[in-house]
């Protein structure tokens, strides 16, 4: 790997969001992640880079892929990984987030990966803990590792981001994935579009330097990448969208809508998918267009790169 004397890959000991990263940070992270893609495909996937270090996964919201991805990344780098989910933590017994932080701090972890339902939770923990904090999703604010793994996936297929048209479709309003991707992709020179019914678009979306569409046909026209977002089940029952069938009819990605995009356009989804809601099964399963499985693989490699980058600052 690169020499410890090189310029730091990350600007701080925490990774709280895409906000605060520079294009150079992102390129360096993606370059480092490429080496872990190779390592992840080797027979011996394990190194001792983080031997003796402790990584705590603190998840206040249930997650399968992000949590297991971090767990695997930590273990492949030799760290001791502990998973704490909300059901087993003392938060369910009334403890405040700050109390939980103090308790965890006393255990002297080196890296805390946190997912919380409230925006700003990771930021708060980073100020109360001595260790590095990685934001694995805070409310509708940021999910930086998802945006970075998406960027890694895109770059492996398209080489660069400059001028790439990326349509982010679906529940933008509640999506931290959309916010982090929007920040990262715009910073790297891509043209970002948001496509959603008005009930699922944030107020003043136009002011974020993106193009906003309320119909898929025009939103997907000429797109290089179609990034679908998950529609939470509780949003479907009339509050934001009248029904699943109406959502799928107008906003679900099927072959007909995808045909509006540029020939060879690629489809992404952060998972878990709602088949027949935001995406048709034949698109999700079409290996010619769907990068969904690859995103998962890139997720592990990218998270190893982040752990590596943070560990260098700890030495």
């Amino acid at each position: 790997m690169t020499s410890p004397d090189a310029a730091p890959i990350l600007p701080s000991k925490h990774l709280l969001g895409i906000e605060g990263l520079s294009p150079a940070n992102i390129v360096a992270l993606l370059d480092l992640a490429e080496t872990y893609v190779v390592q992840g495909r080797a027979t011996d996937k394990k190194t001792a880079l983080l031997r003796g270090r402790t990584l705590i996964n603190l998840f206040f919201e249930s997650s399968t892929r992000t949590q297991s991805s971090f767990e695997l990344a930590g273990k492949r780098l030799g760290a001791d990984v502990m998973n704490m989910s909300v059901k087993t933590s003392s938060v369910s017994k009334g403890e405040t987030l700050i109390d939980t932080a103090s308790t965890l701090n006393a255990m002297r972890p080196d890296i805390l990966v946190v997912r919380h339902q409230d925006a700003g939770a990771a930021e708060l923990l980073s100020r109360k803990l001595d260790c590095s904090v990685i934001n694995a999703g805070d409310g509708a604010h940021e999910h930086p590792t998802q945006a970075l793994l998406d960027a890694l996936t895109i770059r492996r297929h398209r080489g660069s981001f400059e001028g790439l048209v990326v349509a982010i479709c679906g529940d933008v309003l509640h999506s931290r994935v959309a916010r982090s991707n929007l920040r990262l992709l715009s910073m790297m020179g891509a043209r970002v579009r948001l496509v959603a019914p008005r009930t699922l678009l944030p107020c003043d979306a136009e002011r974020f330097g993106v193009e906003v569409y309320t119909d898929m046909a025009s939103g997907l026209a000429g797109a290089d990448i179609v990034m679908m977002l998950r529609l939470q089940l509780e949003r479907m029952a009339g509050a934001f969208v009248p029904s699943t069938r109406e959502y799928f009819r107008f906003y679900g990605l099927d072959r007909e809508k995808l045909n509006r995009a540029k020939p060879g356009a690629l489809v992404m989804h952060p998972g878990p998918m709602n088949r027949g809601v935001e995406i048709a099964s034949d698109i999700a399963d079409d290996v010619q267009v769907s990068l969904i499985a690859e995103q998962v693989e890139m997720g592990v490699a990218l998270r190893m790169a982040i752990l590596d980058a943070l560990a260098r600052g700890m030495a």
């Binding site: 019914p197 008005r198 009930t199 309320t214 119909d215 029952a237 009339g238 509050a239 934001f240 969208v241 009248p242 029904s243 069938r245 109406e246 009819r249 107008f250």
Partner: protein
């Protein structure tokens, strides 16, 4: 090729400002030609010639607010019986409210309504779909699918959406599909149980009453939500000066909002309830004379876009009750034009202006191809005599329900013949 030639007519087309003596040619259900020189000199050689003898030939009326009993209460009014009254009233398009049983909140029910209308109604029937499921004011309907099925607008009819959050989301969602939302502005809690407008008269009669501001409060709220969401909103009917002033101010600052007034709120005030006359119990209730005058001013100034009948059939069972217990509503398809024309006879508005509120304006708001005398437009026409005096006789109405608020009232001017798509559906000449 089916051709009808109208000659010797006073052509009034509010959409183009045309008001001239002339003729009009219908071919295959559409207007093929119209103008002052048409059929002036020679007798046209077409098989069917209608000599209008100087009567007004105008676009057929579009009534934007009609309740029927179909489906669910056909004993009160069916699409067919309502369409009979419409044809006699010169109304060629009825925009029907979704307050039926079942409620029109499913694409298949819009389809049903359109097919029933096609099979039974003499005039065009344009269905509104519910804005919230079951008119419960809680969850929005499938606006995209309903619009594809043929719903022209979305409304809970005579119910207000009490929950501002629900309305905000429904408006935002409707804006996504450029769908028109029709609002009924009455604060539901303030008007609960009321049957008259609060004031001296209601107090004398001892009637449960609601304050007139119950309307203006909701008008203001809805307009603020329209500004937030970018939706298109139409108030089905307003009835007070306060509402009028709020809408005038909103229009002046460019808000995409329109409104209607019911014919009875132009011609009756709260005193007309007299001795508990339940046929004049309507929703919103009849207002003060000052508010009635404001409605007339609003029509004249153009702040009020459309005049509607708010045709609402009731039976003897629901009307022959003590006033507070009686159902609200009056039929109005046959009296819409005569009441509207009374503004012309009173010197409050010109004939073309009044016809505009019944033709061009509703067509523009609802995005309909009808409502104008233009080449290629549907041949929906009314031949009317604006001066003919007559007395309303409830027994002789053509709707199944006869609960008119105007029984025994004298009017001047009514339809003499009505054509829908070039087909004569009424002829009293």
């Amino acid at each position: 090729m089916k051709r009808i030639a109208f000659r010797n007519a006073r052509l009034i087309d509010p959409a183009s400002g045309l008001d001239v003596k002339g003729g009009l040619l219908v071919e295959n259900g559409r207007i093929a030609d119209v103008g002052p020189r048409l059929f002036n000199d020679a007798e046209p050689s077409d098989p069917e010639v209608i000599d209008c003898r100087g009567l007004v030939l105008a676009p057929g009326l579009i009534d934007c607010r009609v309740f029927t009993g179909e489906p669910g209460a056909e004993h009160r009014e069916s699409l067919e019986s309502a369409s009979n009254a419409a044809a006699v009233g010169g109304v060629t398009s009825m925009i029907v409210m979704p307050n039926t049983d079942p409620v029109i909140d499913e694409p298949s029910l819009v389809d049903f309504l359109l097919r029933r209308a096609q099979a039974t109604a003499k005039v065009r029937v344009l269905p509104c779909a519910a804005l919230t499921k079951g008119l419960a004011g809680e969850t929005m309907t499938e606006i995209g699918l309903l619009k594809e099925a043929g719903a022209v607008a979305f409304t809970d009819g005579d119910r207000s959406i009490a929950n501002a959050r629900v309305l905000r989301r429904a408006l935002a969602y409707a804006a996504t599909f450029d769908a028109l939302v029709i609002s009924h502005a009455e604060d539901p809690e303030l008007v609960k149980g009321a049957s008259a407008t609060e004031g001296e008269f209601a107090t004398r009669l001892g009637l449960p009453a609601s304050p007139a501001i119950a309307e203006a409060m909701m008008v203001e709220r809805d307009i603020r939500l329209v500004e937030l969401t970018g939706a298109r909103l139409h108030f089905g009917q307003i009835s007070t000066r306060a509402s009028l002033e709020i809408i005038a101010a909103a229009k002046a600052r460019g808000v995409n909002v329109t409104c209607g007034v019911a014919a009875h709120h132009l011609s009756l005030n709260e005193l007309d309830v007299g001795a508990y006359y339940t046929f004049r119990k309507v929703r919103p209730p009849l207002r003060s004379e000052a508010d009635r005058e404001a409605m007339v001013e609003g029509v004249a100034s153009g702040v009020i876009d459309v005049i509607v009948s708010s045709h609402e059939p009731q039976g003897a069972d629901t009307k022959r009750q003590p006033f507070a217990a009686a159902a609200a509503g009056t039929v109005g398809l046959e009296t819409l034009l005569p009441v509207a024309l009374s503004l012309v006879h009173n010197g409050q508005a010109s004939l073309p202006h009044i016809l505009k509120t019944l033709t061009e304006a509703p067509a523009r708001i609802f995005g309909l191809p009808a409502g104008r005398l233009a080449k290629g437009a549907p041949a929906d026409l009314v031949l009317l005599d604006e001066g003919e005096p007559f007395v309303v006789d409830a027994e002789k109405l053509h709707s199944r329900a006869r609960n008119t608020a105007f029984d025994g009232r004298k009017f001047q001017g009514r339809a003499r013949a009505t054509f829908v798509g070039g087909v004569k559906v009424f002829d009293a000449r």
